[in-house]
Symmetry: C2
Subunit: 150 residues, 2 copies
């Protein structure tokens, strides 16, 4: 029923250490870098250059274990792991939306990275539609943002 | 470096068969159902009720193998798997944005399911922001949509 995850490629990013990655409210993820796909998966990239944005699924390969309830860096109160973007998840899978700048064969040049250099990539999917901002509620994150500004 | 995927819960959806799932342009995913999280992970749901929308990562547990280049149901031309939402991916992970209607303990009532009944869930993350629709390009999907309408 389950499967054995295998990398389809690796991220080349400017971040060598998690402390370098911008976090918190208004953190802009403008970092540019590349998604380097392994040669045996290059055929799967056909026509990807037509999409402006991509979902990247990847592995928190330097996180250890998981914590169901903990204090995230942007708050002073604990929250459930599924209500946060903590790396310490039962299945350590990260999700990032990146802007595709250009493709050179099996190299995707992207903007918006928030992964460490060398992060294994599991999957890439086209980003097709958005939830309208006026329909979004952001729970504790919106509340913590207000408290932080007060 | 990799990990062993484990289900954190299962989807209860109205779909028993992939043929029942709406596909193609303008397909509305309005199906309601539940994400039933296993008791040992319930603590991780703390504060999730504050979010209107969630990312759900799940396993295409009834897909076999992968196909790097193939014809999707909504086109008559082949595309690379990473430019499609095909279930036959190197890592068979699905991604769905759902609207959270309410939480009853470890049961999340949601709208927008496109998974089969019994699908294993890998992760849930809060949906925090959207790409503005005017910035999105949808590549071959937009082109195929135009051809289909001509």
């Amino acid at each position: 029923m389950m499967f054995s995850p295998q990398p389809i490629g690796y991220v080349k990013s400017p971040y060598q250490n998690t402390k370098e990655i911008p976090k918190g409210f208004g953190a802009k993820h403008e970092a540019e870098g590349v998604l380097e796909i392994l040669p045996e998966f290059e055929l799967g990239l056909t026509d990807i250059e037509g999409f402006s944005h991509l979902f990247v699924l990847w592995v928190f390969d330097r996180a250890e274990g998981f914590e169901l309830f903990g204090i995230p860096p942007i708050d002073d109160r604990p929250h459930g792991v599924f209500a946060t973007r903590s790396p310490r998840r039962p299945n350590p899978i990260g999700l990032t939306v990146v802007e595709l700048l250009r493709r050179d064969g099996r190299i995707l040049h992207v903007r918006g990275l928030d992964m460490l250099d060398g992060t294994p990539i599991l999957d890439i999917k086209p980003y097709l539609s958005s939830i309208a901002p006026e329909s979004l509620r952001r729970g504790w994150m919106a509340e913590a943002e207000v408290r932080r500004r007060e």
